[in-house]
């Protein structure tokens, strides 16, 4: 009887056949079991879309709030960054000071140690600049003389830009005979920056607070799930399930809630940014500038996702440790 030729593929596989897992296979087996548990848990969550969706939505909205405020403050900061180039003090000179006089005064001020830079805008330059803005062409051509004064834009040293130092400098400049009036340009900007810092701190605080909220939401959801599945858990313990085996799906449920909640938060913020893009750019056009609204950057997204998963995982971990004590004989 002719022996049938062995298929090389089956022949190759044959030595792998064995009855039980070998030690070398253990890490793979362990990872496989986790993967199985993670996928099975996701499947279980998907089978009850309404309660799962509600929990995920609560997490998403909770996290979208600080994330949205973060986007707002970041955009304001970008906007304010564009104004950093502005002079700290604009010194408007009297009409009768001619360009030569203005240049002399600029030279004097440049010698002062507290000033980093003094920029002279002559009457001629001011007029040209004004013309360039458009719309005033006709009106200006009607005028016989240049109505604009010369202006000195003063940029102080970093050390001298504190509000009270600027105020002192401002008051002193006002006493100069050439000075018509001096305007502090950056003081409000500094105040604005301080408000932004405050807002960003508030975002952090709010984020932390709502993170704890997420922890409690997930913890409570997992607690209810454990109570609902009491009988199943008891039976699993009866047939020899280890504590880890029973805890695992609940911890994965927590992680999934966090991940889906983070995704929802990102989605909500992105939608809001897209919806606001057009009105913001129209507003910017009215101010003769361009301002592209930026959404959540990759770093912020990473923070939201990892924060959401972390808080959810801690919440489910607490619930699991409080309510699943493992097989305990009486």
């Amino acid at each position: 009887m002719a022996k049938p030729k062995l298929n090389p593929r089956t022949a190759k596989r044959k030595p792998h056949r064995r009855s039980g897992p070998r030690l070398l296979d253990m890490p793979g087996l362990w990872a496989n079991r986790h993967l199985q548990s993670a996928v099975a848990t996701l499947g279980r969550l998907m089978r009850t879309p309404l309660p799962t969706g509600m929990t995920v939505a609560v997490i998403g909205i909770s996290l979208a709030l600080p994330a949205a405020l973060f986007v707002v403050t970041e955009n304001l900061r970008t906007m304010a960054g564009g104004w950093d180039q502005a002079a700290a003090i604009s010194l408007f000179l009297k009409q009768d000071v001619d360009d030569a006089g203005a240049a002399r005064l600029a030279e004097q001020l440049r010698a002062r140690p507290e000033l980093a830079q003094v920029h002279l805008i002559s009457r001629e330059q001011a007029l040209n600049e004004f013309r360039a803005l458009g719309g005033f062409e006709d009106a200006l051509s009607q005028l016989k003389s240049n109505p604009l004064p010369a202006v000195l834009a003063l940029y102080p040293q970093a050390a001298s830009s504190a509000p009270e130092r600027l105020q002192a400098l401002h008051d002193e400049l006002m006493t100069l005979p050439e000075a018509d009036f001096a305007r502090m340009d950056t003081l409000w900007l500094q105040r604005f920056q301080a408000i932004l810092d405050l807002a960003q701190r508030a975002v952090l605080l709010l984020g932390g607070l709502l993170g704890v909220g997420v922890l409690l939401i997930v913890g409570n959801t997992i607690r209810l799930e454990i109570l609902n599945r009491r009988i199943e858990i008891e039976i699993m313990e009866l047939v020899g399930a280890t504590g880890a085996f029973i805890r695992r799906p609940f911890l994965y449920a927590g992680a999934w809630y966090g991940l889906l909640g983070g995704l929802t938060a990102w989605f909500l913020v992105t939608i809001a940014v897209i919806l606001l893009q057009q009105p913001v750019s129209r507003l910017a056009t009215l101010y003769r500038s361009e301002f592209p609204l930026t959404g959540l950057g990759p770093l912020a997204m990473l923070v939201i996702f990892s924060g959401s998963v972390l808080f959810s995982l801690i919440g489910s971990w607490i619930a699991v440790n409080r309510h699943l004590r493992g097989a305990e004989p009486g």
């Binding site: 079991r33 008891e234 047939v239 020899g240 399930a241 280890t242 504590g243 097989a327 004989p329």
Partner: protein, 222 residues
């Protein structure tokens, strides 16, 4: 296989359930555990399955002193003890197949191996055709057979049954006991707590009788 040495079990609310109980069972033995309600039958079985720990005395199962067994090793002990209950303890929302597969899933067996063993166990109890049904769609006798399949699917050396025929009519009871005899023939150690004295008398096996938590009568090893 099983050894009780001066075992006491006291519950704070209802007093002594077992007092000074000593007996032994050899591997491969099949025995009935009888006695009136509250005589301590269930408690005895629960001590073997390590659902509870004795107040005093030693319980040794399969060469393992249960008192010295740390908590994290309890699951592995339970995998070697198949347990059958009067109320079946099945998961109502899972199929017959999933219910029987539970001990194997919990032990981390592979997909194919689980399928093979679950079908073998269902075949033994005559329910191979009902693997997709849910327990609620089954009769009481069928549900108990699912419970039995679950208890033996992991091929434990020891099987405990607590009033397995308590809710069944005599014909079904005889069928269930026939199943137990078949397991006995392949070398499984069985301890079956039952009220069904008629059936017990009709079968040639050791009978251990409890009364008020004490050993009242032991027919001895057959």
């Amino acid at each position: 296989m099983i050894s009780f040495e001066h075992v006491f079990k006291r519950y704070p609310e209802r007093g002594e359930a077992l007092s000074d109980l000593s007996f032994e069972m050899q591997a491969g033995e099949m025995a009935f555990l009888t006695g009136h309600s509250g005589a301590g039958k269930s408690t005895l079985l629960r001590l073997i399955g390590l659902l509870e720990r004795p107040s005093r005395g030693q319980v040794i199962v399969n060469g393992r002193n249960l008192a010295a067994l740390p908590r994290r090793k309890i699951p592995y002990h339970r995998r070697e003890v198949g347990m059958i209950f009067q109320d079946h303890r099945l998961l109502p929302d899972r199929s017959v197949f999933d219910n029987v597969a539970l001990p194997l899933v919990v032990a981390g067996l592979g997909h194919k191996e689980i399928g093979r063993r679950v079908r073998a166990a269902l075949d033994q109890v005559g329910l191979l055709a009902r693997e997709r049904a849910t327990p609620v769609a089954l009769s009481g006798g069928e549900q108990q057979r699912v419970g039995i399949a679950r208890a033996v699917v992991g091929r434990p050396p020891l099987v405990l049954a607590d009033e397995p025929t308590g809710n069944l009519d005599p014909d079904l009871s005889r069928e269930i006991f026939g199943l137990f005899e078949r397991f006995h023939q392949v070398g499984v150690t069985l301890l079956i707590a039952t009220h069904d004295l008629g059936l017990v008398m009709s079968m040639p096996y050791r009978t251990i009788t409890l009364a008020d938590g004490r050993l009242a009568n032991d027919s001895g090893t057959w």
